[in-house]
Amino acid sequence: MSAESVSADRDERLAPGGGSQWLRAAGKRLLMTVGPVVVALAIAGLLLLALGVDPLRYYSYVVQRGLLSPSGVQQTLTRMAPLLFLAAGLIVAFRAGIWNLGGDGQFLLGAVAAAASAPFLADHVPAWAALLVAFVIATAVAVVWSLVPALLKAYQGVNEIITTLMMTFLGASLANVLVKLVFLDPATTVPQTRTLAVADRLPRLFDTTISSGLVFGLIAIVAVHLMMTRTSFGLRLRIVGANPRAAIHAGLDVPILTVAVFALSAGLCGMAGALDVLGVQGNVRADWNPGYALTVIPMVFLARFNGFAAIAFVGLLSVLSIGGESAARRMGVPNDFTLVLVAIVLIVLAIAEYIDHRHKKAAGR
């Protein structure tokens, strides 16, 4: 499976040129994205109707809470931060044709590493330094964690889907063991790591409750996007992903690049975990596994591996999850409806892309 088969890997920046042409293309893209979302909402609305729930009210609560109310939008933005890092990590891998399905394990280990180190460091050094070092440690742990699948893929050709899946199971167990047995906070009876004091966490933005993690998340995904689209390194990765034979022909060192992709991808997923702990959670509790990566994977596909589009889709996911929680509470629908909604959006968008692709093929060559 090549990255190309997933989405037309056009280079956004070098894509359509002049003014009106660009507008038309952008408009079409918007239509191709928004149209299916509307269709998906309609389908999910039918399900709500079948459950005896007024879909319009449901959606209006989602939008009100997730997007329009000041505190709601702050929550949405805060929730986006780790998701953006995950999306960035997945984009790096997927664009390079590597199906890293181990994001959740990498996320958890990053989180545990940060939670274990930050409170300890904060006792000895200034908070900013503690955060920085904890962040670096978390990233390093996640990178090391990815070495097994990376080396197996690069030098043995072992399919990374199975190894990363396996490493996720293993990572979740390991995170648990670490929390319960190694980094347990002796001061509490609940199995969890020591808590980083609120004052020591990542600062909030201005007078809001938005974690500054959002800024880092945006920086990360934009940086990844620019790296993938504007730098020589990113181009190399994209070539490996789009056509590995062309990569060999062009003289790229595919195994080294493969390991680099894993390291970057896992590192970013680890950062996501660190950020969630250092910015929001303050600690890691036993058995905690939000499973963010698995939900972000479809978002990244929907964004066609474009960083900016991924911001929008991660935003959509956050609005759906923050707003959905509120709407579910007010309308008496279980929270699980959000999952269904996300799945329907995903499948409808995938179908839309297929139809679009067929059209292009029929019209073109």
Partner: protein
């Protein structure tokens, strides 16, 4: 202070015949009693509840009951941030006047009584404890149950088994482990678990004891009588209404956060459910011990650590 509305946040839907349902029902009862509104936010999971806490504080909740030990980091933080008082569990030291109250609940006295009942009613003289996880409140009950059993009859064996990590929804795991414990000789199972407790109940209903007779189940926190098929022996029921009522009263009196809340056998907020399966003699023996607890003759010390719990069980390699 004025109290118009309180809110409760639970990780699971309030239909679990257990922790979540008891919490919501009690909050409703307390709210009704005090004439205040109750806002229920259920099924929130074990992730980050800060967004919901903030939203509820905006909606005018005067007290937010964060009804899960996993919420006890987030809730105090939001209380500090919004100024809205919160109630948390399993963090007694976090109490803060006017802002944070703790209601670390333990039915350990009740569990002790359940142990007495079980020891007296067990035919095989072997009883089992099956838990889906090892949070402190459950540890306290497991330990007390074992102590109660041994107090009533030192020769009765207690077998202890944890289903495993992430076992809260593992109904199949609950059934499997319970069946193994029954096979090891237990004819009464003391079970603690959320989704997985239904699997334990199923195991008890569908497995025969070594003597071919029925196996009985002692539940905790909630009351599963309505879905019982004749195997429910008892339940250590937690009635949280007094706790929540006291919280509202303290809030009104501006005394919130000055004390911790708890439940116990003495005021009837922890009690054993009596089902048709109960043997009258065993019940009478239990009642006697209960009187001892109420009078202070018998004291039950809670044990919170998992390793300490294990060491109380029969056959533990020390």
């Amino acid at each position: 202070a004025d109290v118009d509305a309180i809110a409760i946040l639970t990780p699971e839907e309030g239909t679990d015949f257990g922790w979540n349902q008891q919490g919501i029902d009690a909050a409703q009862a307390a709210a009704d009693k005090a004439g205040v509104e109750l806002i229920v936010a259920q099924g929130l999971g074990y992730g980050d509840v800060r967004p919901t806490l903030r939203e509820l504080s905006e909606e005018g909740a005067d007290l937010m009951i964060a009804h899960a030990s996993g919420y006890n980091t987030a809730a105090p933080e939001i209380a500090e941030e919004t100024g809205v008082p919160v109630a948390i569990v399993d963090a007694p030291d976090a109490r803060k006047e006017g802002l944070i109250g703790d209601y670390t609940l333990s039915g350990h006295e009740g569990a002790y009584l359940a142990g007495v009942l079980a020891a007296n009613q067990s035919r095989s003289k072997t009883v089992g404890i099956v838990v889906s996880g090892e949070p402190p409140a459950w540890n306290a009950q497991s330990a007390a149950f074992a102590q109660g059993v041994h107090a009533a009859d030192p020769d009765v064996k207690v077998i202890y088994a944890v289903i495993g990590p992430a076992a809260y929804s593992d109904a199949a795991g609950g059934k499997r482990v319970t069946e193994s414990v029954i096979a090891a000789g237990a004819d009464i199972i003391f079970g603690q678990g959320n989704g997985s407790s239904f699997g334990m109940l199923q195991a008890v209903e569908t497995t025969k004891a070594a003597d071919g007779g029925d196996v009985l189940f002692i539940d905790v926190i909630g009351d599963k009588t309505s879905i019982d098929k004749g195997h429910l022996l008892s339940s250590v029921v937690w009635d949280m209404t007094p706790v929540f009522t006291a919280m509202i009263e303290d809030l009104k009196a501006d005394e919130y956060g000055t004390k911790n809340y708890s439940i116990g056998v003495e005021d009837g907020s922890v009690f054993l459910l009596k089902t048709p399966q109960v043997d009258e003699e065993a019940w009478a023996a239990m009642e006697k011990v209960k009187d001892g607890i109420v009078s202070g003759e018998v004291t039950v010390e809670p044990v919170w650590e998992a390793t300490d719990v294990r060491s109380l069980m029969s056959d533990v390699a020390q």
